[in-house]
């Protein structure tokens, strides 16, 4: 009963079950964030005046502690996964919107002019030129969003067993079993790194056109990776 993988029964899940739950609670919001961020970023790209206020708002949102979000949401969505996932989706949004906007903006003017001159309409130009070229920046954003999402799910433990692997942390305290906390931290870190590796692989798959090795990625991609709050620049 004190082993590394002996999960207390009140968590209702085996270790692998917790992992599955954790990934779902962490990744669905990122996916939702991406789906939301694309049109928002598109709007920000279209109407340049929109970008600064959107950035400002998202930064304030980002500063609101996750726990406060969870607590306020309990009344609307109850003690459910949704309560955890909604704030995480919002945080992902905060990271992804600037990443996409910057990525799309990083497309060289010449390339855009060439596309326009060839008779690309705005939609086709966005889908076939801007978005693919912005892919590295978007994936860089996804990497940050995914890592932070995986980490933040654990805070859900505070609102009653909604933290997946994070519940192990609460259990570690309740039953004074540090090994459970170690288990939680290490598992989450490994999951985050695995996701990161997968995303890097995805980028390589999507961008055979990027110079490999030695050559550094485009500044926009880099930027998204280094300033997660992306915002306020």
């Amino acid at each position: 009963m004190t082993g590394f993988f002996d999960i207390p029964s009140d968590l209702q899940h085996s270790w692998t079950g917790l992992i599955g739950l954790h990934m779902r609670e962490a990744l669905l919001p990122v996916a939702a964030g991406l789906l939301l961020a694309l049109p928002i970023a598109q709007l920000c790209g279209r109407f340049r005046w929109l970008y600064p206020p959107v950035l400002g708002m998202t930064t304030v949102l980002y500063a609101v502690p996750s726990l406060a979000f969870f607590v306020v949401l309990i009344d609307y969505t109850g003690q459910t996964e949704l309560t955890v996932m909604i704030p995480l989706a919002l945080y992902s949004l905060v990271v992804l919107v600037p990443a996409i906007v910057d990525g799309v903006r990083s497309v060289p003017d010449e390339t855009l002019a060439a596309a326009t001159a060839m008779g690309f309409g705005p939609v086709r130009r966005y889908l076939q030129v801007q978005l693919p070229i912005a892919a590295p920046a978007i994936i860089a954003g996804l990497r940050v969003a995914t890592a932070s999402s995986i980490s933040l799910v654990s805070v859900g433990a505070l609102i009653g067993n909604q933290g997946a692997l994070g519940n192990l942390l609460a259990a570690a305290q309740k039953y004074d079993r540090p090994e459970l906390a170690v288990n939680a931290v290490v598992t989450m870190a490994v999951l985050a790194i695995l996701c990161d590796v997968l995303l890097v692989g995805l980028r390589m798959l999507l961008t055979p056109w990027m110079p490999r090795g030695g050559t550094r990625p485009k500044p926009a991609a880099r930027r998204a990776e280094i300033t997660p709050e992306g915002a306020v620049r």
């Binding site: 029964s9 009140d10 109850g78 459910t80 433990a157 009653g160 067993n161 309740k174 039953y175 004074d176």
Partner: protein, 287 residues
């Protein structure tokens, strides 16, 4: 001994699934243990049982009981009354139960109380006890003069409850130097007491560390913390008659000594609460 098998996925959905009895618990070890005991007893009677563990404080769980998310919750009768009606006096366990039932939401009711009692208490650590000469015979009233020099700890909700800082002030006139938010009698509380970060704290009377760490539990002559008999709070609709009977049978067999022993198994021997619950039910012939 992990327990992915205990339910489908109780975390899904807001309302309890029709026909499933959802047993909830608050975020401390004993509550989990009691929930497991109730749940397994019900399961032994062939009911479909789901768990919603570690929810948080009574403030939260009561809401979930009301809206039907939880069917069964281990409660402490006097503490519940103090939550429902902070002004109410507590003369006897029966009177308390009647008063609670009167105040309860229409959809809820209390089943039979068990003799097992686990009260909130104000305990001081050994150092403080020595300093002020406090013994097992000392009462809360003895703190009157020294309270302003003391930091008291307790779960965050202790700060605002009648059976907490409020009551200590109104009933005993105690005004502490400050309040330090800890957990519900859990490891934070123990650590804070042993490290003397707080001099007094809200400790459950069944807490095995009281003995281990030589905490001194102060007497409560005004009965502020009232009665705290383990009592199942249930939803009238959600629990069928055989369930009611099963839980009453459990209550009949559960006394304070047993509870102390079970708590120690979980908290000191680090056994899984579900295993402890099952083992006890078996030994008590309730499975």
């Amino acid at each position: 001994s992990s327990s992915g098998d205990t339910s489908d996925n109780p975390l899904d959905g807001e309302k309890a699934e029709a026909g499933t009895v959802v047993v909830g618990s608050n975020n401390f070890a004993e509550s989990t243990l009691l929930a497991d005991i109730y749940g397994e007893a019900l399961r032994a009677k062939g009911l479909k049982v789901g768990y919603k563990h570690n929810i948080g404080s009574r403030e939260t769980t009561y809401g979930l009981m009301k809206n039907g998310s939880i069917t069964v919750l281990p409660e402490y009768n006097g503490s519940l009354l103090a939550y429902l009606d902070p002004e109410a006096g507590q003369e006897s366990a029966e009177a308390v139960n009647e008063a609670v039932k009167a105040k309860l939401d229409k959809s809820l009711t209390l089943l039979e109380s068990s003799p097992a009692e686990d009260k909130d208490s104000v305990s001081v650590n050994a150092e403080t006890a020595e300093k002020y000469g406090l013994t097992a015979e000392s009462t809360l009233a003895d703190l009157k003069d020294i309270a302003p020099e003391m930091v008291i700890g307790g779960s965050p909700e202790f700060q605002t409850r009648q059976q907490g800082l409020k009551g200590l002030e109104t009933v005993y006139g105690l005004k502490f130097k400050s309040f330090k938010a800890l957990d519900a009698g859990g490891p934070l509380t123990q650590a804070a007491l042993t490290k003397n970060e707080v001099q007094a704290a809200d400790v459950f009377t069944t807490d095995p560390t009281i003995v281990k760490e030589k905490f001194v539990v102060l007497k409560d002559p005004e009965n502020l913390f009232g009665f705290a008999n383990v009592t199942p709070l249930v939803s009238k609709e959600g629990l069928p008659q055989e369930g009611v009977e099963a839980l009453n049978a459990v209550s009949a067999k559960l006394d304070t000594e047993t509870l102390l022993d079970l708590d120690a198994q979980v908290q000191l021997e680090k056994k899984d609460p579900l295993d402890v619950a099952k083992a006890w039910l078996k030994s008590a012939g309730l499975d």
